[in-house]
């Protein structure tokens, strides 16, 4: 059967069964919409944790016994580490001054205390573009083993809390994703089955007049392709509108200004569209196969 005949018959079928086609497309679209929205939230949280962790950078505390002449050597060593953007040395005096500034009206509590009581430290700024949270942790562990270093801080508590939340959310997304996929599969498969059932007489007549299975299946599969494409396209379009709305909210609010909202990257979008199409086409193929083997 030529492509022209398939296209013509598909168009004619779409016109004749417009309501059923629309219902199937909306069902596909809603299923994909919920899934895409979850994916968008997960993706943004993941990005947030990555950014937050690396923005904190590292604070390397030295032991009190570290001789002054070792400081430039350590500075050079830290600067030479991969992914390190900038290193700043904070002497005990500078640290003491910072503490005083921080305490403001309560600085009297530091009266009589040796200004050198705080340990010297390095503030290490990380290049965010090439650095990830996992690498940051490894780097901190590596620096922590240096004999001159007493402790390395990188906002572990915050990051660990965020990470554990993210782990929980990842499981939630996965479980919901699997459930959604099954629900969508069930709903789409049944909608398609109903479509095939509603057109059973037509299919029987086609077989009666000598239509081959490919002649019967062709337009159905093409329709499923269009439904998958339109359904997922519509869902992603709605998610994009939501994303633009959220973006407007974050840029308009003083409180949320620092938070960047990201849209789903192209590979995600392509994967969602491909899965949606595969889903519809395979669902139709299975329903048709069940009918045609009778």
């Amino acid at each position: 059967m030529s492509l022209v005949i398939i296209c013509r018959r598909t168009l004619s079928d779409l016109k004749q069964h417009l309501y059923t086609q629309l219902v199937t497309t909306v069902v596909v679209s809603l299923s994909i919409l919920i899934f895409s929205f979850f994916t968008l939230i997960y993706f943004n949280l993941h990005q947030f944790v990555e950014r937050f962790g690396t923005e904190l950078g590292l604070v390397v505390f030295l032991t009190e016994k570290t001789p002054q002449e070792k400081i430039p050597v350590l500075y050079q060593r830290l600067t030479g580490l991969p992914g390190v953007e900038r290193v700043t040395y904070i002497s005990p005096e500078q640290a003491f001054k910072r503490l005083k500034d921080y305490l403001k009206d309560e600085k009297d509590v530091l009266e009589g205390i040796d200004p050198k009581f705080l340990p010297p430290s390095f503030e290490v700024k990380i290049n965010r573009a090439i650095f990830h949270l996992k690498k940051l942790r490894l780097l901190a562990r590596e620096i922590g083993h240096w004999p001159e270093v007493s402790r390395v801080q990188y906002g572990q508590t915050w990051i660990e809390r965020l990470e554990s939340f993210l782990r929980f959310y990842r499981i939630l997304v996965l479980v919901s994703g699997v459930l959604l996929v099954f629900t969508a599969a069930f709903v789409v498969a049944n909608t398609i089955k109903l479509t095939v059932y509603a057109r059973q007489e037509e299919l029987k007549v086609m077989r009666l007049v000598g239509a081959t299975n490919s002649f019967i299946q062709g337009p159905f599969l093409f329709e499923a392709f269009i439904q998958g494409l339109l359904g997922s396209g519509l869902a992603i379009g709605i998610v994009f509108v939501c994303y633009r709305y959220l973006q407007g909210l974050t840029s308009g609010s003083e409180l949320l200004r620092g938070i960047h909202v990201y849209f789903l990257p192209w590979p995600y979008i392509l994967a969602i569209i491909t899965i949606s199409i595969l889903f519809c086409v395979s669902g139709t193929a299975i329903s048709m196969w069940r009918f045609l083997r009778q």
């Binding site: 059967m1 030529s2 022209v4 005949i5 013509r8 004749q16 007489e201 037509e202 029987k204 007549v205 086609m206 077989r207 009666l208 007049v209 000598g210 239509a211 081959t212 299975n213 002649f215």
Partner: protein, 237 residues
């Protein structure tokens, strides 16, 4: 009725089937010890031997439920016999695979009591479907469909839908659909069962005309009025 006969060979598979079909043997349908049994133990008929010659018009008769429809379904490959063999123009149906059945059906026109028309398709589209499934484009099949509809007296109702037609007209559309491919065999399953006497006569005249043009007709009916004054062969099940 004026039936033209353009080429209906869009692909090589159909060509092979065409060659397989037109061997020129006088016997076009042959049944040998055909038995049909449904589980658990419902035997519809057993050990049927029958030969139908090319161009013959036979009545397949017997009371309701005797197996006339089942017999036609076997000839049409809608079902397989439990045992025995059926030959259609020399081709043993047991050797026809499921994927080859559509090509076989294009050589057999089938007419039913309940018409089996597509209600959301026009009269023209219903008839054109038989040609469309063979791969013919609409432009190629238009003239042929129009001629066939003229032949059954429905040229003026091509754009109408089946529900806008009377029972007799609907049956004529079904006949046009069955014969637009110029099949060698026409199987009719109680085609007058839902029609009054006048429409029945119209349908019978069309069937006679089809037969006069060379088609082998197997007409299944329980209505003895249709065959009691005829010279046609009567096969009682």
């Amino acid at each position: 009725m004026a039936f033209s006969q353009p080429s209906l060979l869009p692909d090589y598979i159909e060509a092979i089937f065409f060659i397989m079909f037109f061997k020129g043997s006088p016997v076009i349908i042959r049944l040998q010890k055909v038995t049909k049994r449904y589980p658990p133990d419902n035997t519809v008929f057993s050990d049927i031997d029958l030969e139908i010659e090319r161009g013959e018009f036979i009545f397949l008769t017997g009371p309701s439920g005797i197996g006339k429809t089942t017999m036609l379904r076997l000839l049409f490959c809608a079902e397989r016999p439990t045992s025995g063999e059926i030959w259609i123009d020399g081709v043993a149906l047991s050797s026809v695979s499921n994927s080859q059945i559509p090509y076989l059906r294009r050589k057999i026109g089938m007419i039913f009591q309940d018409f089996r028309l597509l209600s959301d398709h026009t009269v023209f589209d219903n008839v054109a479907l038989s040609l469309e499934v063979t791969g013919l484009k609409r432009e190629q099949s238009r003239d042929r469909v129009v001629k066939v509809l003229e032949g059954v007296g429905l040229a003026g109702k091509m754009r109408q839908y089946p529900f806008q037609l009377s029972g007799g007209e609907q049956q004529r559309v079904a006949i046009a659909r069955a014969v637009v491919n110029r099949p060698a065999i026409v199987l009719a399953d109680e085609p007058t069962g839902n029609l009054d006497q006048e429409r029945t006569n119209e349908v019978m005249m069309l069937m006679e005309e089809l037969n006069a043009r060379g088609a082998t007709v197997v007409f299944a009916t329980h209505d003895d009025r249709l065959y009691k004054n005829t010279h046609r062969r009567i096969v009682k099940l």
